[in-house]
């Protein structure tokens, strides 16, 4: 234990200052929000996989989470509508303490892994009062990852049912939003919002921890655009 404390002391505070200060610069390789200018048609953030081989040009911008499914569709005509804060009553309840339960509904563990990164000292999610809990009975909402396979569908519904009212639902990653690469499969569903009402969509495959954090904070009204 002493060793750990010593190491911690030596390393100092590693937590980023975001959202008070600008987030640290992301590397060139990072593929954030696609640049729509100069491209024809529209891009659905919930359906693309952010892979380097496609024709899409990516920017370095990590803010991509939205409150509505249709806001994820980027087009040349209009500005992207990022996630809005919850209404006043919900903010009064969840604004300073939000407990979430994670449900991996057939996910490949990439989203789950990057969600886990939020609990590291760098992002330190709990400083915003957001925590992951073990039981939906203790939770205010669920974070769903994966394409909601047929076998997980009922378990997901039961978890949703078990959370006390009022509750939040967050769809994390392309699979949860639209079925992702499984969208053609009869075993997967085509988007979480076809099953239960969703309050926050966080696109990415998987979403960068900053994207997720940005989305959560926008939902709680800590960041306004």
């Amino acid at each position: 234990m002493l060793k750990i404390l010593k190491t911690r002391f030596k390393q100092g505070c590693r937590t980023i200052l975001f959202p008070k200060a600008k987030a640290p610069d992301l590397p060139q390789r990072y593929r954030g929000r696609p640049i729509i200018a100069g491209q024809n048609g529209s891009i659905d953030l919930g359906k693309i996989f952010f892979n380097p081989d496609s024709d899409i040009v990516y920017s370095n911008d990590y803010s991509m989470a939205t409150s509505k499914r249709e806001d994820l569709v980027l087009s040349q005509e209009r500005e992207m509508a990022l996630a809005r804060a919850l209404n006043e009553r919900m903010l009064k309840i969840f604004g300073r303490s939000l407990k979430l339960r994670q449900v991996s509904a057939g996910g490949c563990n990439a989203c789950e892994l990057d969600l886990n990164v939020l609990n590291t000292p760098v992002f330190d999610l709990s400083r915003f009062g957001i925590q992951f809990v073990a039981s939906p009975r203790h939770a205010d909402g669920i974070v769903v990852t994966g394409p909601v396979s047929r076998n997980m569908r009922e378990a997901l519904l039961k978890t949703y049912e078990a959370i006390p009212e009022p509750k939040l639902v967050i769809a994390l990653g392309g699979c949860a939003i639209s079925g992702g690469i499984f969208s053609d499969s009869p075993q997967a569903s085509h988007g979480l919002d076809t099953i239960i009402p969703v309050d926050l969509f966080i696109p990415g495959c998987p979403p960068h921890p900053l994207t997720t954090l940005d989305g959560l904070l926008r939902l709680l009204g800590r960041i306004s655009s």
Binding site: S135, E154, A155, K158, E165
Partner: protein
């Protein structure tokens, strides 16, 4: 006395009337009910009038009733002293409650048996138990005792179409007969010493210490079998489940207590015992208490569980008696007084709350048609009255504050603590060990009733899946609360439980009156005050806490009123095939604690737990084997059976042989006379 005689004559006349009208179910039941109420009312009045006397008149000559020269050595000689009155009080309360309940219980009975005969036998049982309690002549006592055994045998075997009931009845009959043999010898020795079979002369006689020890051993075995001390208890857990509910209540509340009454009566007669008698009683009490509650933990059958709890409570009562005897032997009268008073009060309290528990268990069995707790569950919403009343009984039996069990266990603790302060090293060791045993019993009893109440009333119904398909629950039409005839007696008993817990002064005072009759000494007023005052202040503080708690509960209920209530199913980690059987059962709840004590009792789990990912069909069954039954009595009975089989040739079945026996006997008698 006159009141008691009125009550007895009402019972005799009405039992004849019931037999006369037993063809008509309605008339006999009606006569039964009203005569029971009248007789118990008069009986209670007579008992209370004796207990409420301010000063103790030692030889209660004014209230005796005597018929001279009826049978050789014996005469019809009855009288009420404070000890009899105390037991009469609890007996009439319980027989009233159990009788009314029995009326309600058997009203819907549609079987072959004639309920009129059952009711007449019930009256007869009340008569003979009253006689046992007020007899002042040993022969009368023994005769009444024997009739009581027979009558209760017939009452127990009401459902005699089933094999197990008949067997339980035989076991009861045989075990208590062995006891009577000891009692006969004991009373003969006493009578020979005193020169009379009347208790008055016996009390006046001084018994040598060695003889007193012999008498104690005889009384201990004779009355101990009735009272159900471990290891003489084997009849008890079989007879209680076999009997109809109201009879089980009476059996556990009164018939078992008569063993305690007998011991107290012998103490009142002989008075001075050697020290080791008290120590033996204390040790046996501790074994009965701890053993009883441990066996109770292992039971799945509700009535069997309650039967083992009777053994446990007899243990607590006997702890009080034992420390009283030790105190008496040391001439520390304070210890003796409080010990005896604690024993008496716990006798009363146990009769009340165990009666309540048996009756409410009976209501549960009446509704669910099973005694197996693992098939119950979730009954609290369907049977709110029974549930709450069972809860009151459970809280009382656990000895929790605000209920009557607390008061009497406090007295027993107090006596043991007085023992620690006033006795020498030897006494201190035994008293402190007894305190440890009592504390262990209390904790385990609380655990056991958490189990019983939780498994029966909380959760959801476990049997529904088996009976009515996957989604079907036991419908509300199927299970409904009994009417006032079933509920009324339980409410009466529950009210006494609460009254005894909240306003303990009267009952403690009555117990002291009984104690004076046992010891034959006047209890100093200072001592009474010293015992009652702390009790009163403790109760006051605790009831204040109780009031605050209930106000908080009401406030919470009021606040919640404004929020919508949403019912969802139990969270099962997303498991889809959730079933009602995936709950704590009686066995699984008790398993961790039984594992700790597995060296002390034979705890067995049959079947094996599958460790594979996808377990196939598996079954588990846990059981607790009664050590004294399976290791002591069964081998003993086996040997006796084998031995008696060798003598079977004597009983050939030919009439000629029997005539030969008679002839030979006559010849021997003639020869005897000639010599």
């Amino acid at each position: 006395m006159a009141l008691l005689l009125i009550s007895l004559s009402i019972l005799i006349i009405s039992s004849l009337l019931i037999l006369l009208f037993c063809r008509s179910k309605e008339i006999s039941a009606c006569v039964f009910l009203w005569s029971l109420v009248a007789a118990c009312g008069f009986g209670l009045w007579s008992a209370l009038s004796v207990l409420c006397q301010k000063a103790m008149s030692l030889p209660l000559t004014g209230v005796d009733f005597r018929v001279h020269g009826t049978i050789p050595l014996g005469e019809f000689y009855i009288g009420i002293d404070a000890l009899s009155a105390f037991f009469l009080l609890l007996f009439f309360i319980l027989s009233l409650a159990a009788g009314i309940y029995g009326y309600g219980y058997l009203r819907d009975y549609t079987g072959q048996r004639n309920t009129g005969v059952h009711f007449a036998l019930y009256h007869l049982l009340i008569i003979v138990i009253t006689l046992v309690l007020v007899a002042k002549n040993a022969v009368l006592f023994l005769v009444a005792w024997e009739i009581m055994t027979f009558v209760s045998y017939f009452l127990i075997t009401f459902y005699n179409e089933s094999e197990s009931v008949r067997k339980a009845g035989y076991l009861y009959l045989i075990s208590t007969h062995v006891g009577v043999f000891c009692l006969l010898v004991m009373f003969l020795i006493m009578g020979a010493q005193a020169g009379s079979m009347n208790f008055d002369q016996m009390t006046a006689t001084q018994f040598p210490l060695a003889l007193a020890a012999l008498l104690f051993m005889l009384a201990f075995v004779g009355f101990g079998i009735k009272a159900g001390f471990i290891p003489f208890h084997i009849w008890l857990p079989h007879a209680h489940p076999a009997a109809p509910t109201h009879i089980s209540a009476l059996l556990s509340g009164v018939v078992v207590k008569l063993g305690i009454y007998g011991l107290m009566r012998v103490m009142a007669i002989v008075k001075d015992f050697p020290l080791w008698c008290g120590v033996l009683l204390l040790i046996m009490a501790a074994i009965s208490g701890v053993g009883g509650v441990l066996y109770a933990l292992g039971q799945h059958e509700i009535k069997k569980l309650l039967a083992y709890h009777s053994i446990e409570n007899i243990g607590i009562i006997t702890l009080g008696l034992g420390i009283g005897m030790i105190g008496h032997a040391y001439h520390q009268e304070t210890v003796a007084f409080i010990g005896y008073a604690g024993a008496l009060l716990h006798t009363f309290n146990h009769a009340v709350f165990k009666g309540l528990l048996f009756l409410s268990a009976g209501s549960v069995i009446h509704c669910t048609h099973t005694g197996d707790m693992d098939h119950m569950g979730g009954l609290f919403k369907l049977l709110p009255w029974t549930g709450h009343l069972f809860l009151i009984g459970s809280l009382s039996i656990c000895g929790l504050p605000l209920f009557n069990g607390f008061i009497s266990e406090w007295l027993v603790y107090r006596a043991l603590l007085e023992g620690v302060f006033h006795l020498d090293v030897f006494g201190i060791i035994f008293s402190s060990l007894a305190i440890v045993a009592l504390a262990l019993v209390g904790g385990l009893a609380a655990l056991c009733f958490t189990k019983a109440f939780g498994v029966i009333f909380l959760g959801s119904n476990k049997s529904s899946e088996g009976h009515q398909g996957k989604e079907g629950r036991l419908s509300n039409i199927d299970i409904k609360e009994g009417d006032l005839m079933l509920r009324g007696p339980m409410i009466l008993l529950a009210a006494i439980c609460l009254w005894g817990g909240l306003f303990p002064a009267n009952m403690v005072y009555f117990a002291f009156q009984g104690t004076q009759a046992i010891t034959g000494l006047q209890i100093p007023f200072v001592l009474k005050e010293a015992v009652i005052n702390p009790l009163l202040s403790a109760t006051r503080v605790l009831s204040f806490g109780g009031v605050i708690f209930s106000v908080l509960a009401l406030v919470r209920d009021f606040l919640v009123l404004h929020y919508p209530v949403r019912l969802t199913e139990t969270w099962s980690c997303g498991y889809v095939k959730l079933s009602h059987r995936m709950q704590y059962t009686a066995s699984s709840f008790a398993r961790p604690i039984l594992k700790i004590f597995r060296s002390a009792l034979v705890f067995r789990v049959e079947g094996k737990i599958s460790k594979e990912y996808f377990p196939a069909w598996t079954s588990l069954k846990s059981s607790v084997k009664d050590v004294s039954e399976s290791l002591l009595f069964r081998p003993l009975f086996y040997v006796i059976k084998k031995f008696s089989r060798k003598l079977k040739w004597i009983q050939s079945g030919h009439t000629q042989t029997y005539i030969l026996y008679v002839f030979l006997f006559l010849v021997i008698l003639l020869v005897w006379k000639l010599i």
